[in-house]
């Protein structure tokens, strides 16, 4: 679920070359520089009580298959970066204690658990923009070990002045619109609301996640090692799972320059000839949810047989492998999905038909 709607609506909008990003004052009603944000319909980044994003999550949860989620055999993994942190911003700005209710990951998730009628086994995993990948890995391991029959991974991140103000302070969220994997004078990201879920089972389903891989550079909070080894160290394990397959690469591609160059180069080394796409120039960076949100769009792309190209207007592409336009994907038999995060964190996996 993105500002465009569900996976099918999002895929269709990407195919039409549309962007959900609009200039929004960075602190919402409190003003500030206009920066590119993609908010779900009817939502502003100013906090409400209950949170304005709750309706979107309820709608998404309505599509989750019935089951005794949160029971010992069907654990839930809730992943994200921000949870209800916008409530803390509103609490500090207004002094209204009612905003505290959803403010911290444990309290936010517990309220959501009760709201959705889940049992108590609801893990919370928070590792910035690779959070969704970690939920998928932990769920996969529980299934592989036979300690779960099914697992639900839910991921969401909704924008607030807290997160917009933070990225604006880092100067990567600025007045420019993002152009992932394109050269330019300065890099820029956009931010977007996002939510998604996946139900994992060990021995049934239409899709398979393979070659799940992680790597953490631990080099700098907001920069990567200049030799690209952090990217390659992650992608090599996924590449081993792709042997014999023709894949396309769904990159992280936020719109920052150095990380974009390193990612494209590493993708070219690990998956020679694979077209590279990035969708955050249209959807915005949906932060901790991006791994699941973009997985859903990748699945829709394979289902429809058409992959949306890389959205964003800017200078020349960072590599010939960057696919600017849409392409038919019928001759491919796998998609590599990658995400990156603060601290030089990397995550990737191979998506393919069962």
């Amino acid at each position: 679920m993105t500002a465009f709607g569900d996976a099918a609506s999002t895929h269709a909008a990407l195919m039409r070359g549309e962007s959900a990003l609009r200039p929004v004052p960075v602190l919402g009603g409190a003003g500030g520089d206009p920066v590119p944000m993609a908010l779900m319909p009817g939502r502003a980044i100013d906090e409400t009580n209950p949170p304005s994003w709750l309706g979107a999550l309820r709608a998404l949860a309505g599509a989750i298959p019935d089951g005794d989620w949160g029971s010992p055999e069907r654990p839930v993994f809730v992943t994200g970066s921000n949870f209800g942190v916008g409530g803390l911003y509103a609490l500090r700005q207004t002094g209204d204690a009612a905003f505290a209710a959803w403010g911290a990951p444990p309290t936010c998730t517990e309220r959501l658990r009760v709201e959705l009628g889940w049992g108590p086994d609801v893990s919370i995993i928070s590792h910035a923009c690779v959070s969704a990948h970690l939920g998928l890995i932990e769920a996969s391991r529980a299934l592989d070990a036979g300690v779960a029959r099914e697992a639900l991974v839910l991921s969401f991140d909704f924008l607030s002045p807290f997160v917009a103000g933070g990225f604006h302070a880092l100067r990567i969220l600025n007045g420019d619109f993002p152009a992932p994997f394109r050269e330019g004078a300065t890099g820029a990201i956009g931010l977007g609301d996002g939510a998604g879920f996946a139900v994992l089972a060990r021995d049934r389903g239409d899709w398979v996640l393979d070659g799940q891989s992680l790597n953490n550079e631990m080099h700098h909070f907001t920069a990567n090692r200049g030799d690209g080894s952090g990217f390659s160290g992650c992608l090599e394990a996924t590449a081993a799972a792709t042997r014999g397959r023709r894949v396309w690469y769904k990159g992280h591609g936020t719109g920052t320059l150095e990380a974009g160059r390193l990612e494209v180069a590493a993708a070219g080394r690990s998956f020679p000839g694979a077209p590279v796409v990035g969708w955050k120039g249209s959807l915005g960076h949906t932060l901790g949810s991006c791994g699941l949100v973009e997985l859903a769009v990748a699945i829709e792309s394979v289902r429809v047989g058409q992959t949306p190209g890389t959205y964003g207007r800017g200078g020349p592409a960072m590599s010939d492998c960057v696919a600017a336009g849409n392409f038919a994907n019928g001759s491919f038999d796998g998609v590599v999905c990658a995400s990156n995060a603060f601290g030089g964190a990397h995550a990737s996996f191979l998506l393919c038909h069962a």
């Binding site: 500090r92 893990s123 909070f221």
Partner: protein
């Protein structure tokens, strides 16, 4: 049943210690100048983790319900001109990143958890399901100020780290086993910390359908 041997465990309970005193006590455990931007949680959990000499092949499972509460408070107080440094520092797994970036030590697998009444079980499950030869289970909390008044921060400061291996090491310190069974219970992070800190034997349910057996050798 899931099982790992405890090679070593490091714990630090700040108790009623003033945060400034905690920081001063731990300052010498880090390179000169490194602690200026570190949080108290980064120092107390980081010192415990560093005591186990984390390396690239290790998996790190980190658990903290409220994480960098004081950095979060300060970041919120910095509006309308938010601090970029406090933004980075306030993000959930930064305590581990503070120490690992300081050491310039990459690590393949890093699984940061938050959570409430079942966080101990969930972090232990993640640790015991990891395929890594050595898993470093670490965590902690730092006492908040105005967030604590709203029930959104810990009322204690503590840090811990335990090295877990698949094979029994020479001089094993203990053993941890998780097994599905009929029964119910819960165990928060502070309670798990107290078990490690006191080297306390435990046998009982820490989540619905899951039993923990913790023994010290």
């Amino acid at each position: 049943m899931l099982e790992r041997w405890i090679q070593a465990a490091v714990t630090d309970d700040a108790g009623g210690e003033d945060p400034a005193a905690t920081r001063a006590r731990l300052k010498g455990r880090f390179p000169a100048g490194a602690t200026r931007r570190m949080t108290t949680l980064g120092m107390i959990a980081g010192a415990a983790l560093a005591g186990l000499d984390p390396g690239e092949g290790d998996a790190i499972v980190y658990a903290s319900g409220y994480a960098e509460s004081c950095a979060l408070e300060a970041f919120l107080d910095s509006f309308p001109t938010p601090s970029p440094t406090l933004f980075q520092t306030s993000i959930h797994p930064s305590a581990v990143q503070q120490v690992m970036i300081g050491r310039q030590t990459p690590v393949r697998e890093f699984l940061p958890h938050s959570g409430g009444r079942l966080i101990a079980f969930q972090a232990l499950r993640a640790a015991l399901l990891s395929p890594a030869p050595r898993v470093l289970l670490c965590g902690g909390e730092e006492r908040g100020t105005w967030l604590l008044a709203h029930g959104l921060a810990s009322d204690r400061t503590f840090g811990f780290a335990a090295s877990l291996s698949r094979e029994r090491p020479a001089g094993a310190a203990g053993r941890v086993r998780l097994a599905p069974a009929d029964g119910a219970g819960e165990l928060g992070l502070a309670s798990l910390f107290d078990l490690f800190h006191g080297r306390s034997v435990f046998g009982g349910f820490i989540a619905p359908g899951w039993r923990l057996d913790l023994e010290w050798l």
